[in-house]
Symmetry: C2
Subunit: 181 residues, 2 copies
Amino acid sequence: MTLVSDPVGPWRTLASDVPYRGRRLQVHRDQVLNPSGLRIGYDWVETDDQVRVAALVADRILVVEQHHYLVGPLLQLPGGRIEPNEEVLASAKRELAEETGYRGGRWTSHGWLYPLPGLTKMRVHLWMVRNPRPGPPSLEPGEDDLRVHEIPIAEAASAVAAGRVRCAPSAALIMLAVGAT
Amino acid sequence: MTLVSDPVGPWRTLASDVPYRGRRLQVHRDQVLNPSGLRIGYDWVETDDQVRVAALVADRILVVEQHHYLVGPLLQLPGGRIEPNEEVLASAKRELAEETGYRGGRWTSHGWLYPLPGLTKMRVHLWMVRNPRPGPPSLEPGEDDLRVHEIPIAEAASAVAAGRVRCAPSAALIMLAVGAT
């Protein structure tokens, strides 16, 4: 299962344009040659990377519940957007503290995932922290309805298997956390 | 961990616009009241739902490897875009057959995930198939570099844990498949 190590790859960019610039996202429209040599238009989205955190407190994991504008009520691991010029680990610690109040502990990186590699280069960086200390949360504007659950890790894995954790990076990281405990 | 059953939720849409319409994606710009009662502009992306398939052949799982325009070489489960008016299961069977040649077998749904619930309502539908039969693949234009690997399921789980399966829905579904076998 060794990956082809061709650093260039079979795609070629012929031209680029940015037909939409918003505050949260930009749309790029490239003219490309695909691996079959066909010239096509390729629309893609630029948006900030995010972090998700598996915070393990004894045999429990912290899960946040919040209404999302687009998809309604959702269970996720704590996390969010990485601010401009913010280090990834600093962002993970900030988001965990803001949403749950937990701080400190032993942090380990679990790499990153591409949520939608055909649509965006955006990455969700995965972190795990063991035994952080509880404290007061400091929610951002718009997160007033956020609730924090402390769930036995095996129960969180069952929730993923039952389709109750719909956020893809959160679901993957919960399953990785089960394997790591 | 029961979800709030408020079917409406704390967000309100005040106005909607579509500032970009492409072939693969549309950008919506809504004016909304967030859960704190603040009026904000909310950009989001509309794009077609996808499917991913965990195809289990004895103790092995089928993994495809392909160069992506945006992110380079990538390991994923077979899958792709659901065509207009296509049933989800029909799409899963079509994508598996096109990419790997495998057909038939016992199919079960594992729900769906939101890859990026803050950016798009788009869903990735998860399916599992046991003991499909091999046959000739029929790749779409642009997929000439696609390669199929048959990997022991435990090795696939290790690849996810080692950060070698970067596609978030694929990573989650591999971990779910491990738990289901």
